[in-house]
């Protein structure tokens, strides 16, 4: 990835940038983690259709990656994350949360065990110096390998078909939660399989372009479509998965205490294992566990297909929350959102959003009813 002095280029390009640019009909680019990434490559409708009914390929190289290795890597990591990863077998990965001493989230990500004493951590925020400070005294070494290699995401119901076309049939046998290094076209590639037919490929830098080209070419038959960050965001919001830095802030960077979250305020299963005797933030989390969380991150839907935006969530006249991610789902004509809402206001209905609706140059405000969406089963 491009080196040089930092002020020369505020945004870097991923190893796949040129390949993605070829696929772009829109020339729409966004910033993510210091990288220039595609926004939409085609119309939103085309991309969304492909993602939900066919297969899509995306550049995900902007995700941060850390290599954590050493004799005591497992012991060290198990003290950092809130769940118990001692049962994490080689060749598997698991979603993890890590907290600071007050039980506030410093980061979240996926932790893959790719060898007996070797791990890969995938996160949104930079956590290296925090990892290093917290691994003092352990025989373990943590390094940032974000600049090495690239990431590709193959997703959608026809993803497996696209793999067949590409001659990667054995990957069909991977189960959700597997993280294994496979040889593809003679290149070593770390492959992660998520729930819902999502495959992540992490090849070395020089191998990224041949792999992308091969998949694109082979997948054409299966209707493989390249997509950008905006559609990936839509899928994330649809699934109700918050993103650090957007829907909440990491405890190491948030200036206001109001914008950091605890694992109890996150949607989905609570990923904290108190059977584990020692881990960061355990005492504080224990105290929190007996109380109910003050806020929750929830997925919202507004059944209204007009061109509108909203941020404030109300109950009656009172503001009870703020929307942090917003997208329009063309297939259902709904506006979908993630919002941080007072926990007490989540239980009963009656929530509204203050929408700003535009038509040509006219702008007006309307209170629109909003539903809290249940979480999909297969996250």
């Amino acid at each position: 990835m491009s080196g040089g002095l930092p002020f020369r280029r505020h945004l870097r390009m991923t190893p796949l940038h040129a390949e993605v640019a070829v696929e772009s009909r829109t020339n729409d680019w966004v910033e993510r983690n210091g990288f220039t990434m595609a926004g939409h490559l085609d119309t939103p409708e085309t991309e969304v259709f492909a993602r939900y009914h066919r297969a899509t390929l995306a550049d995900i190289s902007s995700r941060r990656r850390y290599r954590i290795a050493g004799r005591e890597a497992m012991d060290c990591l198990n003290r950092l994350v809130t769940s118990d990863i001692s049962k994490l077998e080689e060749g598997h990965f698991s979603p993890v949360f890590f907290c600071e001493e007050n039980g506030l989230l410093v980061g979240e990500g996926s932790l893959a065990r790719i060898g007996d004493t070797e791990f890969r951590l995938f996160t949104e925020e930079e956590v290296l110096s925090w990892l290093r400070r917290n691994s003092t005294g352990f025989q373990v070494h943590a390094e940032d390998v974000s600049a090495e290699g690239a990431g590709l995401e193959l997703a959608g119901p026809l993803a497996e078909a696209a793999l067949d076309e590409a001659g990667f049939e054995p990957l069909r046998l991977l189960l959700a939660g597997h993280a294994q290094t496979r040889e593809l076209m003679g290149m070593p590639v770390l492959v992660l399989r998520h729930v819902g037919d999502v495959f992540e490929f992490w090849p070395e830098e020089d191998d990224a372009v041949p792999l992308w080209r091969h998949l694109m070419q082979a997948g054409r038959e299966a209707g493989l479509q390249a997509i950008g960050e905006k559609t990936r965001d839509l899928v994330r919001i649809d699934r109700g998965t918050p993103r650090m830095g957007t829907d909440y802030l990491g405890a190491l960077s948030a200036v206001s205490h109001d914008h950091v979250r605890t694992p109890f305020e996150m949607p989905g299963e609570i990923n904290v294992d108190f059977d584990k005797p020692v881990f960061n933030g355990r005492a504080a989390l224990r105290r929190m566990a007996v109380k109910s969380a003050s806020h929750r991150i929830v997925a919202l839907a507004v059944d209204d297909a007009r061109d509108l935006t909203f941020a404030v969530v109300c109950k009656g006249e009172r503001q009870v929350g703020v929307c942090t991610s917003l997208t329009f789902m063309p297939e259902t004509g709904q506006h979908l959102a993630l919002a941080t809402v007072e926990a007490a206001a989540c239980s009963a209905g009656g929530l509204t959003v203050e929408a700003e609706i535009r038509r040509e140059l006219a702008v007006w405000r309307e209170k629109l009813p909003v539903r809290i969406r249940p979480r999909p089963e297969n996250r």
Binding site: P6, F7, G34, L252, V255, H257
Partner: protein
């Protein structure tokens, strides 16, 4: 005869800011200054015809937008430029810089130590959290000890409840910033000696302390108080007036005059007339007497009390407090006119942080050594320099292609241990400064068209500021907040004095140099509030 509602003595930035706020509120204000040009310590001068730069200070005035809110500076024509906050040079290829873009800042520090890129985020977060607490205390009169009244009590209560809401670890951090040294705090975040020296160097320009002196860590906060929080996660930027301080001064003077006020230059006030410990008017050097119900001094605290009054007429403890108030000269100033833009060894010409200045300050140990030498009144042999090129920010300050360079020489004693300053000593210091500049900017000396060096006592002679102290009173904890300039024990937070209707508005008052020109704005607010109270009563 013209009736004046208020007289401001001294057309420095604080004086002009106070005058502009009062004039906008409808008062007829008269501003008097003994110099031919307004601006005080932030004034500019031409080192050679066509080459303009801040005469005594490094950058002139930084703009704090909130201080000038409501004055209409933009309508008066002032334009502001935000620049990245400077480069520190330690040797060929050894330099680091402050960038306002978060990704650039993290990558820059990570270039020196990988962890430091990440540490920047925590450091910025903690500094902004502290700044959030400190800023409200700067933009108003600080409650005085012993001050009665519900509002002072309320303010203290507000502060206490805020304290109680902090997590325990935060609380410790918030107390540490007032007690620890700069180097202790930096050690908690950063590993690279270059990064630490860079941040310390920015905090120590013009200081009377070194990076290891206790109770100095709060200085690291200053850029975050002045630059404010921007969303980019980088270093706070410097807001500079386009056209330099002169542009700001012209706009403020224009606002005063447009509102019916008046500025009189070369009008030195020698006396303030008192009756029953209440001020009545001023006497000029030529004997002219001008009466006004309110008088505001933008002269430093010492000069105001000891120089404008007959000591027998004012309370003894006021004279004593002014005598005790510490003012120390710490900086000499070298102004250069250059034939071309200097090339800095190893630093690319297009580095945006250069617009914020260049520091040749050495490591933390060297900074400590320089401070120790100053403490013993030794003239520095390896001077620690803060450099700024005003013509990089605004090319109109020098003829096309030419440049001006403003060099602040830090830790220069007011009176050397081996006897008073002589021409020979001054020349030796100038030589040492040029020598050091030459190491970072080879070939610089050949491009110097004109130069002038000002020592602390010469700055005093020119500006009238005691000891040539640009902070107008040492900025140490015992001379800050309610202690600046001294606890008068009355409402008015150090702006109102025991002499009725006599106010102080210079940097000798709260918040001093923490926020430029804020003291002037606060004084105006205090005066207007007391007038409103009296009208209500």
């Amino acid at each position: 005869m013209v009736r004046h509602d208020a007289i401001v003595i001294g057309a420095g930035l604080n004086g002009l800011t106070a005058a502009a706020h009062l004039a906008r509120a409808g008062l007829k204000v008269l501003v008097l200054d003994r110099n031919g040009r307004a601006g005080g310590t932030a004034a500019m001068r031409a080192v050679e015809p066509g080459f303009f730069l801040p005469a005594w200070s490094l950058r002139g005035a930084l703009i704090d937008p909130a201080t000038y809110a409501g004055l209409g500076l933009a309508e008066a024509g002032l334009r502001v430029r935000a620049v990245d906050a400077g480069v520190s040079w330690f040797g060929p290829g050894e330099w680091t810089a402050s960038f306002s873009a978060g990704t650039a800042q993290r990558a820059e520090f990570a270039r020196h130590a990988h962890e430091d890129g990440d540490a920047w985020r925590r450091y910025r977060r903690d500094m902004l959290r502290l700044a959030d607490v400190v800023t409200p205390a700067l933009t108003t009169a600080f409650p005085q000890p012993g001050e009665a009244g519900l509002s002072a009590f309320g303010r203290r209560l507000g502060f206490a409840s805020e304290l109680a809401a902090w997590p325990r670890t935060d609380m410790a951090a918030k107390l540490d910033i007032w007690t620890e040294s700069i180097s202790t705090i930096l050690d908690r975040y950063f590993t690279s000696p270059l990064v630490k020296a860079h941040l310390a160097g920015a905090a120590l320009a013009g200081a009377t302390v070194g990076p290891s002196s206790p109770m100095t860590a709060w200085r690291l906060l200053v850029p975050f108080l002045q630059g404010g929080a921007d969303a980019t996660e980088g270093s706070p930027r410097l807001l500079l007036p386009v056209g330099g301080t002169d542009a700001l001064v012209t706009c403020l003077a224009g606002i005063v005059e447009a509102a019916g006020g008046e500025l009189r230059m070369e009008a030195e006030v020698t006396d303030v007339k008192l009756r029953d410990r209440q001020v009545r008017g001023v006497v000029l050097a030529d004997g002219e007497e001008i009466a006004a119900p309110v008088i505001i001094s933008d002269l430093d605290f010492k000069r105001t009390i000891l120089g404008l009054f007959q000591w027998k007429d004012i309370p003894g403890d006021l004279v004593e407090a002014a005598g005790r108030f510490r003012m120390k000269g710490t900086t000499a100033k070298l102004n250069l006119a250059l034939d071309r833009q200097p090339r800095i060894e190893g630093v690319p010409r297009d580095c945006p942080a250069l617009a914020g200045g260049l520091r040749l300050m050495g490591s933390l140990a060297e900074q400590d050594k320089a401070h120790a030498c100053w403490h013993m009144n030794v003239v520095p042999q390896n001077p620690e320099l803060s450099v700024f090129l005003p013509s990089l920010v605004d090319p109109a300050l020098a003829p096309p292609g030419k440049h001006v360079m403003s060099v602040l020489v830090n830790w220069v004693p007011e009176a050397p241990h081996d006897g008073p300053w002589t021409d020979e000593k001054k020349n030796r210091l100038t030589e040492a400064v040029l020598e050091k500049l030459e190491t970072a900017m080879p070939g610089l000396r050949e491009t110097v068209r004109a130069q002038e060096m000002w020592l602390p006592h010469e700055i005093e002679n020119e500006t009238g500021i005691t000891s040539g102290d640009l902070d107008q009173g040492e900025m140490t904890l015992d001379q800050m907040f309610f202690n600046r300039p001294t606890p008068f024990g009355a409402p008015g937070g150090g702006y109102a004095t025991p002499l009725k209707n006599f106010y102080l508005c210079s940097q000798s008052t709260h918040p001093g140099s923490l926020l430029p020109a804020r003291a002037g704005a606060n004084t105006a607010a205090a005066i207007l509030a007391s007038m409103k109270r009296r009208q209500g009563a």
